[in-house]
Assembly symmetry: C2
Homo-oligomer: 390 residues x 2
């Protein structure tokens, strides 16, 4: 087991009608002037935004609104948010939505407190050392950004999709009402499931030995997701299933599933290029790229893939490790298909002929190497994209 630090100070307020806690949560964090940040029409049409405005008004908390966050959130809106916060002396950011909105809020929060261009954080040239407090009202269980220390933003100039992180951007609270997720369409629900599973698998596939507890927790969380996923797809108003999936999205990305080991994250980087080039949903992109990555790297750590097959997918132990590993990968792929996810370029609307373009960007964004389970160069990446395109 490797040494680690784990710090997850977010206050999670989970369950039916927990929005009623919003006023006291805002007061606790001395919010007096708030940027309410959200996506598109859903927050408005559902009445959620209006409810939140009423709560803020009743608590005499001033606020301004900035909507329009899109999937694969753009730097342009972050710049707009930073300017707005400075102009209006905002001291708290309230994000209403899923990972895109929360990531955009995090980027604004650390950008406001920084004199230079916030994109420096994403170029890795400057370390984040403070941020405005961010609170979240989660409406899409997927990215786990409500409990994570990371964010991903796409630079519209050049479509560079990059991540950055800091303990300072962990949200101070997350209000999570599973009922708010009842109206998510099956496609978005499935994308979220792929995203949270990917967050666990990026941590699970490691060469670090002696991390039994973290392994067992990863496997447990994956099994719970696999059990609840078909329920939320076929019975979208099943409260308990929605609640388990929602909490799983958070658990998958607080870091608790990764402590004590080297994580991988190659698949996320491979997917980010698809997101940047085509604007595909992150979860759908991951559902395509994870099995492809697995098929390419599994011989570099056969025992880990056998364990994945047995403990997550209940594949029988036949003694033939290679066969078992491949059955585990196939089980994952079949599971993605069963909940309506794409598992190849075609399903995603991506083109084999764009692989050169993907590799070019990937090379810029990663410096030419990625992954830890197996260190990959751009030839490896090309081979994985090819596997995904077949």
């Amino acid at each position: 087991m490797n040494n680690f630090k784990f710090w997850s100070p977010t206050e999670f307020v989970f369950g039916r009608n927990t929005i009623s806690n919003l006023g006291s949560l805002m007061k606790k964090h001395n919010a007096t002037k708030v940027l309410v940040h959200y996506g598109g029409q859903h927050a408005e049409r559902s009445g959620l935004l209006k409810d939140i405005e009423n709560i803020l008004q009743n608590e005499f908390i001033e606020y301004i609104k900035l909507g329009g966050v899109q999937p694969n959130p753009l730097d342009t809106l972050v710049y707009e948010g930073i300017d707005l916060c400075r102009k209006e002396n905002v001291n708290f950011i309230l994000a209403i939505g899923g990972g895109s909105v929360i990531d955009s809020a995090k980027a604004i929060a650390c950008g406001v407190s920084y004199g230079g261009d916030f994109w420096n954080f994403f170029e890795g040239t400057v370390t984040i050392n403070r941020a405005l407090p961010v609170g979240t009202i989660v409406t899409i269980p997927a990215a786990g950004s409500e409990g994570s220390d990371s964010m991903v933003i796409t630079k519209s100039d050049g479509m560079l999709k990059r991540g950055a992180g800091s303990p300072f951007i962990r949200p101070v609270f997350a209000v999570m009402d599973p009922v708010l997720t009842f109206s998510l369409p099956p496609e978005q629900t499935a994308n979220g499931i792929a995203d949270m599973m990917a967050h666990i698998m990026e941590r699970y596939f490691t060469q670090t030995k002696g991390v039994e507890l973290t392994d067992c927790m990863c496997e447990g969380a994956l099994r719970a997701i696999i059990k609840e996923a078909p329920v939320v797809i076929t019975d979208p108003e099943n409260y308990d299933a929605r609640a388990n999936i929602m909490w799983a999205g958070t658990i998958a990305h607080t870091g608790i599933c990764g402590v004590g080991r080297e994580e991988d994250w190659a698949t996320h980087k491979l997917e980010h290029e698809l997101g940047a080039l085509y604007g595909v949903a992150h979860g759908a992109g991951l559902a395509v790229m994870f099995p492809a990555w697995m098929n390419y790297v599994y011989t570099s750590g056969l025992d880990r893939f056998v364990r994945f097959a047995v403990n997550v997918w209940e594949i029988n132990n036949t003694g033939d490790k290679k066969e078992m590993a491949l059955k585990g990968i196939k089980a994952l792929k079949d599971f993605f298909i069963s909940i309506g996810l794409p598992v190849d370029f075609r399903g995603l609307g991506a083109k084999k002929s764009d692989i050169d373009k993907l590799i070019e960007k990937l090379s810029i964004n990663t410096g030419g190497s990625l992954g830890n389970f197996r260190k990959l160069d751009m030839e490896d990446a090309r081979a994985i994209y090819l596997l995904a395109s077949q």
Copy 2:
């Protein structure tokens, strides 16, 4: 699934030589005058106390020392600590040890900030609403107090052993070096293992439905402990096994294994009377009381016990639920025996003839009822003590 709040703001700094982080952690929490709180000779003889004093001196942080915390920590030392902190204007408490020392430190921390008798918190007449910050250096993996919001103190007058809790007493940091646990004797190691398993099982045995994720995480954590336990007993300097057991002690009691459901805690209350009357090690008492409690209540939730048998102990599904449930309970008992734990009154040095006395105290401490999986009255409690005494 029930609504819940989960907040675990402790910063865990885990691994070899992590004590080197102590200075910066203390500065981060503005510690200028520290009470160093510890148990007996181990901290002194091992050189750990001296190392810590050197770090504080190098950082120019003033400190005073209060040792002498015993297993089943007493109110008398808490009063002494409170007086000392007030007299010396202490603004930070550093606990070096396991659950007893950390609990004693927590009680001092909230007692200092309260005008009345700190025991009021344990009588439930007053709510804790602030406390001095507590940092911990963990040397015994067992109670998980380094990451929990609870504490247990024994009142020497009448030997009342009681718990209290508050978010305000969660430690601000925990330095956890598994190497510090290499020297723990097998008996104390096993007691710790029983304690952490009990913390998970008190949460796992619930009548709340629809908590699949939390169930899977409990089962995963139990499986990891069961796998690593024999290793730490037979090979006490096995770093990875010690590390997994140490982290399991924390995970077992942060609350993450209990979110979304009603917890039980009857067994802890039954054990507390054994601890108060005989001064038995908490883990040993739990190893005796848990199987007895299970044998008494399992018919009140057979499916839960079947799941425990199958998912934790890999008992074959024969279709005979009662038989499977009993096999699971027997597997737990056999496991406790295999790592040298007592599983009955005799092994604990407790006497059947004292059951009246135990019930009398239990009645005072619980108001006559305990548990949630099955609501128990004093006649039930008597029957469970009888089962444990056979």
